[in-house]
């Protein structure tokens, strides 16, 4: 912000949380949460695992986690991102690989804490664009996570389950969600809620099971 941008160079890894009033370029790697009032750029060689919040978020490398941009989130050609993107302007450039939901807000308000949940509740479907809904299998991104905090309505996210990926997912991850789902809106191929534990094994019909979980955990 003030002067030259901060840089995590290639070869350097930071584990932990980053915050402040600065622009940050990531050529290396950050595992943890990033909150900036400046711009965040994850460069080609860079990767970030964790929730990122910045004035603008540009992904050229890899981001696994939800991204919130006060102004914009941009996923460039060649970039890979798994997570929800929330910003007034969300750009997915052709050639980018993206898995997650898109929330475009035009009210200019600061990114809500759990936008997807609220939106779901109030607006129901269609308020937001369910741009991309695909199963995720980045289990490592949520290492050790449990799904306590996953809102039930997240269960509805899964519109297009894909068996291969579902099967691979670690059981505990999808369990709670699974149960919720079974209760509220049995999905094709889902098992009855009466057998929630076992149900974990089955193909959870959820699209983005992990996205948002980190957020929930961190906040609690």
């Amino acid at each position: 912000m003030n002067d030259k941008p901060s840089i995590i160079p290639a070869g350097v890894t930071f584990r932990g949380d980053v915050q402040g009033d600065a622009d940050l370029l990531v050529f290396g790697r950050i595992d943890g949460e990033i909150r900036l009032s400046g711009a965040l750029v994850v460069e080609e060689s860079g990767s970030v695992r964790g929730e990122v919040r910045a004035r603008s978020v540009t992904v050229r490398g890899v981001v696994v986690g939800d991204a919130y941009g006060v102004e914009s989130v941009r996923v460039d050609d060649g970039a890979r991102m798994v997570g929800d993107a929330t910003a007034p302007r969300v750009l997915i450039v052709e050639g980018a690989r993206f898995r997650g939901r898109i929330h475009m807000r035009d009210d200019g308000s600061p990114p809500p804490r759990a936008p997807s949940r609220r939106r779901r509740r109030r607006g129901g479907r269609g308020g937001d664009d369910d741009a991309v809904v695909e199963p995720t299998r980045l289990r490592e991104s949520r290492g050790g996570g449990d799904a306590r905090d996953v809102p039930p309505d997240r269960a509805h996210r899964a519109e297009r389950p894909e068996r291969a990926e579902r099967a691979e997912r670690p059981a505990e991850r999808s369990a709670p969600r699974r149960t919720e789902r079974a209760r509220s809106e049995p999905a094709p191929g889902s098992e009855p809620a009466s057998e929630p534990r076992r149900a974990r094994r089955g193909p959870p019909p959820l699209a983005m099971p992990r996205v948002g979980r980190t957020r929930g955990q961190r906040r609690s």
């Binding site: 912000m1 003030n2 002067d3 030259k4 941008p5 901060s6 840089i7 995590i8 160079p9 290639a10 070869g11 350097v12 890894t13 930071f14 584990r15 932990g16 949380d17 980053v18 915050q19 402040g20 009033d21 600065a22 622009d23 940050l24 050529f27 290396g28 790697r29 943890g32 900036l36 009032s37 400046g38 460069e43 080609e44 060689s45």
Partner: protein, 122 residues
């Protein structure tokens, strides 16, 4: 390290909480709390504060480090710089105006005729 990547920089407005690792060169003008365990050079700028143990190849300190500093090569405390903690390095320099509140651990040999009760450094 990619040739394309510039050196690392933690700017004034930034604060990191965690562990900085890997290999490279980093200058800190902001805050880092946690740990630095990195191969390469670490520069702690005038207004920077680092809390936690530091292990690097080379450290140049113009700001403050609260914690021990271990360097494969050298540690330099510049004018205005301060380390509260022990310094382990084969080469240590404290410039005029630099402060070290702690011990210096340097390995070296003494000439045979003087190595007596004091022996070599701890």
């Amino acid at each position: 390290m990619t040739s394309r990547s510039p050196i690392g920089y933690i700017g004034r407005g930034l604060s990191l909480n965690g562990r900085l690792g890997g290999e490279g060169e980093v200058r800190i003008d902001g805050m880092l709390e946690g740990e630095v365990d990195m191969r390469g050079r670490l520069e702690v700028g005038e207004d920077a504060t680092v809390r936690g143990p530091v292990a690097v190849s080379t450290a140049v300190v113009s700001g403050r480090i609260h914690g021990s500093v271990r360097a494969d090569r050298s540690v330099t405390i510049r004018e205005g710089g301060r380390i509260d903690g022990d310094v382990h390095a084969s080469s240590v320099a404290i410039d005029d105006g630099g402060v070290l509140a702690g011990g210096v651990h340097m390995d070296f040999e003494l000439p045979d005729d003087v190595s007596g009760p004091q022996g070599e450094g701890s």
